[in-house]
């Protein structure tokens, strides 16, 4: 499912890093898949991306799809605009989501819906893919909604 962008236009657009380290992640989001790093040596997940597994030091890492559900590990309601694009935005919410199906790695996104809604650590959330297909570069943001 797609959605209206949560934040007003004008913020920096994400592009895969030139070294290729996170390219599969960004490509996956465009196909509505959450792909994160998993180690072929010890089979554990890690995020953010790195060239080596921090547990077993294997360089043999793959990108694998994980269930795009988690719980709110922490949250913040932001009021003061620090970018011109946010001048008329009003408050907005950023959440840090813990992914139970991927060894509890964490990922950052917005919590869609009323920015004044109660923010509850431990609450279950699921992913919503926010496509920006017509932009340069085309990209998809990973957003979250209360389950």
């Amino acid at each position: 499912m797609s959605m209206t962008p949560y934040l007003r236009p004008g913020l920096a657009k994400p592009a895969p890093s030139r070294d290729g380290l996170d390219a599969p992640f960004w490509e996956g989001l465009q196909q509505e898949k959450l792909l994160l790093q998993r180690c072929n040596g010890c089979n554990r997940w890690q995020w953010g991306p790195e060239w080596v597994c921090h547990r077993c030091h294997s360089f043999d890492l793959r990108y694998e799809e994980t269930t795009a559900e988690g719980i709110i590990y922490s949250h913040e309601r932001i009021w003061h605009p620090v970018h011109p694009a946010l001048a008329e935005q009003g408050p907005y919410v950023v959440v840090l989501v813990e992914l139970a199906h991927a060894d509890d790695v964490r990922i950052v996104g917005n919590l869609i819906g009323d920015p004044h809604q109660p923010l509850i650590i431990g609450a279950a959330v699921h992913a919503v893919f926010e496509h920006h297909r017509d932009e340069d570069p085309a990209h998809t943001l990973l957003q979250w909604a209360m389950s």
Binding site: A12, S74, E76, I78, H83, R106, I107, V108, P137, L141
Partner: protein, 394 residues
């Protein structure tokens, strides 16, 4: 830690100075000129000829290059030039540790620790980046509007307050203490601008749980301190202020990308504080006065806990304006006004204030202060801490 490998008592601060402190954009001088002014002031405070300085130590990628400073000041030679890795103010006491280590190991004789920062000239820390496209680690946060230091750290503080039931009033007391102390300090940018509870409560949110007054200022200025060996320190005008300990570091995978550090709701001092006390051969109960870096009050809260002054569960009871006051408080905090109300000189002003407390020169002097501690740059990696002491503490 084996006692023969220690910085305890090996080096001393013999001079400190800062430029006039300005709100960002108000300095009439360029950043490098501010750096020179601070170094010259610190040398004058010590009573040494600036050409005898043979080392420079800074942090956070300070732009005032050590070789340029040495050349500009006509120093006879450059023996030591060190930059502490890491951003934010986490290197404030780390740069001090590097300077003390250089002196203790015979690499240099007279090292200046400094920080020069003109946010008017080079950009405000409180603003988000303006790039059109972002890649790398920042691509995973900026497009979601998580783009300033306040945003990076509020996420940690919310989790900490949730886990331990800490109330907003604890943050408020930390802010009020800084503003109250600044009213006695003519150098403070917020001198003459007192803060009360009602004004704090009514102030706008920057990002919850930070009100405006929980956030550091954005300033222009520079600060510097001169270090020499403990042996030489006795020959200077000031009573020696010894470095009893200075350490830096961070816990397991503190730098894990995109908010994935395991010990997330932390100021980052859980491994640093034990090494600090071990080197100083002191404990939190021995500290007479604390200067704790306020990027945001929540960082101070966690620094206080992780340095053992109270448990997280005691924070509401401990963090009161009475307890944090220079006049009779259990733990006088940020007695110059700190980053909130004196000046955000990336925290080096806190180290200078600790030295002044040992000298008996503070504008909010804690009676008979013998041991003064500094916590530098909570929530970044690496962080650092230091403890200063009088002759009596050796």
């Amino acid at each position: 830690m084996s006692t023969h490998r220690t910085l305890r008592g090996k080096a001393a601060v013999v001079g400190v100075a800062e430029t006039e402190y300005y709100k960002w954009g108000r300095s009439p001088d360029q950043e490098f000129k501010l750096a020179i002014e601070a170094v010259l002031g610190a040398c004058a405070s010590a009573g040494i000829n600036p050409t005898d300085v043979d080392g420079f130590s800074s942090y956070s990628n300070d732009r005032s290059d050590a070789s340029r400073l040495s050349a500009a000041l006509g120093c006879k030679q450059l023996s030591f030039a060190a930059m502490q890795w890491g951003g934010g103010g986490g290197g404030g006491s780390g740069a001090l540790a590097n300077a003390a280590a250089a002196i203790a190991t015979g690499q240099a004789e007279c090292v200046v620790v400094f920080r020069a920062l003109a946010q008017g000239q080079f950009g405000r820390f409180g603003q988000g980046p303006r790039s059109r496209i972002v890649s790398g680690t920042a691509a995973h946060t900026l497009p979601y509007g998580l783009m300033s230091a306040a945003h990076m750290f509020a996420m940690k503080v919310n989790r900490f307050m949730h886990d331990h039931g800490v109330a907003q009033e604890a943050l408020r007391a930390i802010s009020l203490a800084s503003y109250a102390h600044a009213q006695h300090n003519p150098r403070a940018v917020m001198h003459g601008r007192p803060l009360d509870e009602a004004t704090y409560d009514a102030s706008r949110w920057i990002v919850e749980p930070f009100h405006l007054f929980d956030c550091c200022q954005e300033n222009d200025g520079a600060a510097a301190m001169v270090l020499v060996s403990a042996e030489r320190a006795k020959d200077f005008d000031h009573d020696p202020c010894y470095v009893l300990a200075a350490v830096s570091g961070s816990q397991h995978r503190a730098g894990a990308p995109v908010h994935n550090t395991p010990e997330y709701a932390s100021s980052g001092f859980t491994t640093v504080a034990p090494r600090l006390y071990d080197m100083a051969q002191l404990g939190p109960g021995d500290v007479d006065v604390l200067q704790s870096y306020e990027n945001f009050t929540g960082g101070v809260l966690m620094s206080i806990v992780e340095h053992g002054f109270c448990t997280a569960e005691e924070a509401n009871e401990f963090c009161t304006i009475e307890n944090l006051s220079a006049s009779g408080g259990k733990l006088p905090l940020n007695t110059s006004g700190g980053n909130l109300a004196e000046c955000y000189m990336h925290g080096l002003g806190l180290n200078i204030e600790a030295v002044r407390q040992i000298w008996g020169d503070s504008t909010c002097q804690v009676p008979d202060a013998q041991v003064a501690m500094v916590c530098s740059g909570p929530m970044v990696t690496p962080v650092s801490s230091s403890i200063f002491g009088s002759e009596a503490t050796l």
